[in-house]
């Protein structure tokens, strides 16, 4: 691990947000204004029309989005180059802070996850924390919301294995809810209602989170040093990418995110945001102010707030608590989707959540900066349909021009001193747009060039430059697909239509061709039809559109090939898309990968029989004991006791169901009935007893087969 940086103690008054916000957004507006002026002039030259007004409005909005993005890059670049004291890690010398009496919970809310990966991430974090000597100040909680009975049983069994291996009995806890009310935010709320008052802080992790122990300790010390701070959000580094897509995403995250977040911190400062995980939260204000209300109206906008994080941060800020981005604190990691389709699935969920923020945007009492955070999130998804509308309007104008036979250039430029031809005028605007879009990438590279340790961490400037070029080519092809996806997500959400995607069909080495065809045939068709239309409209125009069209037409092979691990590994051998965590992996990630490899090599990965979890929970004497003990303990919580009673746990009806289960097999029961049986501790003990004591012929063949298989499996 790198040496601890020298802390420059700064005692400064509360920063002037107004001035920073004005400066930052004025820069974006100024740039947008100048370029929009040039664009309006170009449109004016060819004769004004209603469709040109629409095009101009769309241009202004879209350019403002990219200008805001570019300004994050520019401001972040200068801040990183010339240093800044305005980071929470530099405001006070927090490292000397005593945290001896401070208790912190590290929570992992999970929902039908790959439990091996979740627990190995937890193990890596736990062991890293152990090395700091501060382990006793932290408790770990696995907060399960899993609905799949097989997953639930596996979670319990592996949790018991984990605590035995780590000798972490009474240090790592496992709690499963009886229902999924409120999804992830409800899961965390349930934890807080049961144990929140025991902990001054809680760290929310995602299923794929890994935290360095020292970072966890630093976060607690930072909180202790700043009693007015309610939330510190770390900036997780994307790691463990293996496919080409995963490695490209990981590379862009590691190279570009630092300057973007530094830019974000410039205007947000103590009015930062919460991204839902890898953040430390002060429990008391969170419990007091951040229980989310139901939104009025029908789904998808009404009801439960899906993307709870932004709103929770806004509610904390409303009550004058501070939220900071600890963007210069290393040791916070997460993983990203490994294929374009998986990524789009995640985008779909986020899109719905962000659009729902439209209802909260004008809530009374929120801080203006919170509205900005919410608004930027919404804009991220509206940009797709707006870009599509821009391109279609542009096409319409050209088609109309062709159809009416009007000449393209009718008058001189409104800015005659530029002395530009129509084509040169259009080219100038295009070049400006490209520069603004590419500027953050270029600045990230320049910053890398000036930072020798970081340059080495990316494999050298030459490799990083090649990687940026390759990443730019890929993102150019990917962007039109995101445009189409986002448009679909926004439109379907606005009309309240749920888009079913089903499960990802994976080949051994990534996305299967058939699955890619099913997901992308529409994109390909749109690309081909649009391309044919553009070609007819004019070959010169067609060539301008090729980057957009190529992404669509090539979507199927692009999706399949970028999901390939082999191509990811090949790119790595060539030194492309290298990241600091690939070149010098931190101990936590080394341990995680090693343990995952052990699982991969030693565990049977063949598909399990249907209802394998039920068989295990009933037949395995130890798993049954764990399962029943956890269920019995729930009864001490009045909330769960009430839910048990409501479900009919302990009633004769459940015993009747379990008798039916024994004699008829699991298929005789509905999933709800099976779940009810598995939730009844008394019945589960009874089933274990009966399944082993009853003569085989009095039970369903499924049980006899399970007992046989179970015995053989144990023998093997």
């Amino acid at each position: 691990m790198a040496d601890a940086p020298t802390i420059l103690t700064v005692n400064t008054p509360r920063p002037l947000h107004g001035r920073r916000l004005f400066l930052f957004y004025s820069s974006a507006v100024l740039l947008t204004g100048v370029v929009s002026w040039l664009f309006a002039d170009l449109l004016w030259r060819t004769g004004w029309s209603f469709s040109r007004t629409v095009l101009l409005v769309l241009f202004v909005v879209l350019f403002l989005f990219i200008a805001v993005g570019a300004m994050h890059g520019v401001y972040g670049f200068f801040l990183r180059m010339f240093d800044t004291q305005w980071s929470i890690t530099r405001l006070k010398n927090y490292r000397a802070q005593d945290i001896a009496d401070i208790s912190t919970a590290v929570v992992f809310p999970i929902y039908n996850e790959d439990i091996v990966r979740v627990y190995e991430g937890l193990r890596a974090t736990y062991e890293s924390l152990q090395k700091t000597g501060q382990l006793e100040r932290f408790d770990f909680f696995i907060l399960s919301d899993s609905t799949d009975p097989d997953k639930r049983v596996e979670e319990e069994r592996r949790w018991c294995d984990l605590i035995r291996e780590l000798d972490a009995l009474g240090r790592i806890y496992y709690r499963r809810r009886l229902n999924n009310e409120g999804r992830k935010s409800g899961n965390v709320r349930d934890f807080l209602n049961a144990w929140g008052r025991r902990y001054r802080y809680f760290m929310v992790c995602d299923a794929d989170s890994v935290m360095r122990g020292e970072t966890l300790v630093d976060l607690v010390k930072l909180m202790e040093a700043h009693p007015t701070v309610g939330l510190i959000q770390t900036v997780p580094a994307t790691v463990n990418g293996e496919s080409l897509f995963g490695r490209i995403q990981q590379f862009s995250n590691r190279l570009y995110a630092p300057i973007f977040i530094a830019g974000l911190n410039y205007w947000a400062l103590d009015l930062g945001n919460y991204w839902g995980h890898n953040a430390l939260i002060r429990t008391e204000p969170f419990m007091q102010y951040c229980d989310l209300p139901q939104l009025p109206g029908r789904k998808p906008f009404g009801g439960q707030i899906l993307s709870h994080d932004f709103v929770e941060a806004a509610l904390l800020l409303r009550e004058n608590w501070e939220a900071w981005f600890a963007y210069d604190l290393e040791g916070s990691y997460e993983e990203a989707p490994q294929a374009m389709i998986e990524n789009a699935q995640r985008e779909r969920r986020w899109c719905q959540g962000n659009l729902q923020h439209g209802l909260v945007l004008f809530a009374r009492g929120l801080r203006g900066v919170s509205r900005l955070h919410l608004g930027l999130g919404i804009c991220g998804y509206l940009a797709g349909p707006l870009w599509l509308a821009f391109l279609l309007t542009f096409n319409w104008i050209h088609w109309f021009q062709n159809y009416t036979g009007l000449s393209s250039i009718t008058v001189h430029a409104f800015t005659p001193y530029l002395n530009l031809s129509g084509t040169a005028h259009a080219l100038l605007i295009f070049v400006i747009c490209m520069v603004v879009i590419m500027m953050p990438k270029a600045l990230a590279l320049i910053e890398l060039a000036y930072d020798a340790p970081r340059r080495r961490a990316f494999g050298g400037l030459e490799r990083a430059t090649v990687s940026v070029v390759a990443e730019t080519v890929f993102s150019t092809l990917h962007a039109p697909l995101l445009m189409l996806w986002h448009t679909r997500f926004v439109v379907t959400n606005l009309f309240g239509v749920s888009v079913g995607w089903g499960t990802q069909k994976r080949a051994a080495d990534g996305t299967a061709w058939t699955f890619a065809i099913r997901r992308h045939w529409g994109h390909t068709l749109i690309g081909l039809v649009w391309g044919a239309f553009m070609w007819r409209l004019g070959p010169s125009l067609f060539w301008w559109f090729t980057p957009v069209l190529a992404g669509m037409v090539l979507s199927i092979p692009l999706s399949v090939f970028t999901s390939r691990r082999s191509l990811g590994a090949h790119a790595r051998r060539l030194g492309i898309f290298l990241t600091p965590e690939e070149i010098a992996p931190p101990m936590e990630l080394v341990a995680l990968r090693a343990n995952m490899k052990v699982h991969e090599l030693t565990e049977d990965t063949s598909p399990r029989r249907p209802h394998a979890g039920l068989a295990e929970a009933v037949l395995d004497p130890y798993v049954n004991a764990i399962h029943v003990t956890l269920l019995r303990e729930k009864q001490f919580n009045p909330v769960y006791a009430e839910q048990f009673a409501g479900m009919g746990v302990g009633s004769p009806a459940v015993r009747t169901l379990s008798e039916k289960l024994l004699t008829g097999g699991p298929d005789q029961l509905t999933p709800t009935e099976r779940s009810l049986v598995m939730t009844d501790p008394g019945t589960m003990v009874w089933l274990h007893h009966e399944a082993w004591l009853r003569p085989g012929e009095s039970m369903a063949p499924w049980w006899r087969a399970s007992i046989r298989e179970y015995s053989r499996q144990d023998e093997s």
């Binding site: 018991c160 009025p296 004008f362 159809y403 003569p695 023998e715």
Partner: protein, 218 residues
């Protein structure tokens, strides 16, 4: 082990039956008991055989008087009784209890004390047992969390401002009636426009589109 074999062997009669039951029946009983001990991860074959025979011997003694029960049933019951009695002794708890709490606790204690890994030879063996083993068994516990410190988070009202009005549009009285009137007004305007030159415009626009496509794709 020898005593167990001798014990059960003594119950074999001249017709080749064991305690009045055919050997096949005892074979099934053996398998049942062995499977359960397998499930408890008793992997030492010698120990496993010895334990199974102990159970079968107890079952064989009951067999002549309980003709209605199969050998498998008797063996399963004896296995359960033997294990529960042993748990009661080791954990110093009463074996009584209809909810099988002792059985659950005992199995959990076996796991947490690592009987399958460290103490296999102690399983079902009469006491005294090594102190470390007894300590590990008795101190075993499993908890989903620390002691509850219950509270209740309550959502604070959030005034959504003007948006709330939009979401409440559906609740505005006579909304449907107003929408119907608006639709009627739009229909009147549309018909008026079509009959005052609009129809010609639509017709020429459509013709233009058709012409363009015809010319382009000819």
């Amino acid at each position: 082990m020898e005593s167990a074999v001798n014990g059960i062997g003594a119950l074999t009669d001249s017709s080749g039956q064991l305690a009045g039951r055919p050997l096949d029946e005892w074979n099934a009983a053996y398998e049942k008991v062995e499977n359960y001990f397998h499930a408890l991860r008793v992997r030492n074959k010698a120990l496993l055989g010895q334990l199974v025979l102990r159970v079968l011997e107890r079952a064989a003694h009951r067999a002549p008087t309980e003709a209605s029960h199969s050998a498998t049933q008797l063996a399963a019951e004896e296995m359960d009784r033997l294990v529960t009695e042993w748990f009661a002794e080791v954990l110093q708890e009463s074996p009584a209890g209809s909810d099988q709490t002792l059985s659950t606790r005992g199995r959990l204690a076996l796991l947490l004390a690592d009987m399958p890994g460290r103490w296999q030879e102690q399983f079902l063996r009469p006491g005294p047992w090594p102190e470390e083993f007894v300590g590990a068994m008795r101190e075993s516990f499993l908890r989903a969390g620390p002691d509850f410190q219950l509270s209740k988070m309550t959502p604070r009202p959030l005034d959504l401002g003007p948006i709330a009005t939009l979401t409440n549009l559906g609740r505005i009285p006579y909304l449907r009636m107003v929408l119907a009137w608006t639709g009627f007004a739009l229909l009147l305007v549309g018909v008026f426009w079509l009959t005052h030159g609009g129809f010609g415009q639509v017709k020429s626009s459509l013709a233009g589109v058709v012409d363009w496509f015809t010319q382009t794709y000819r």
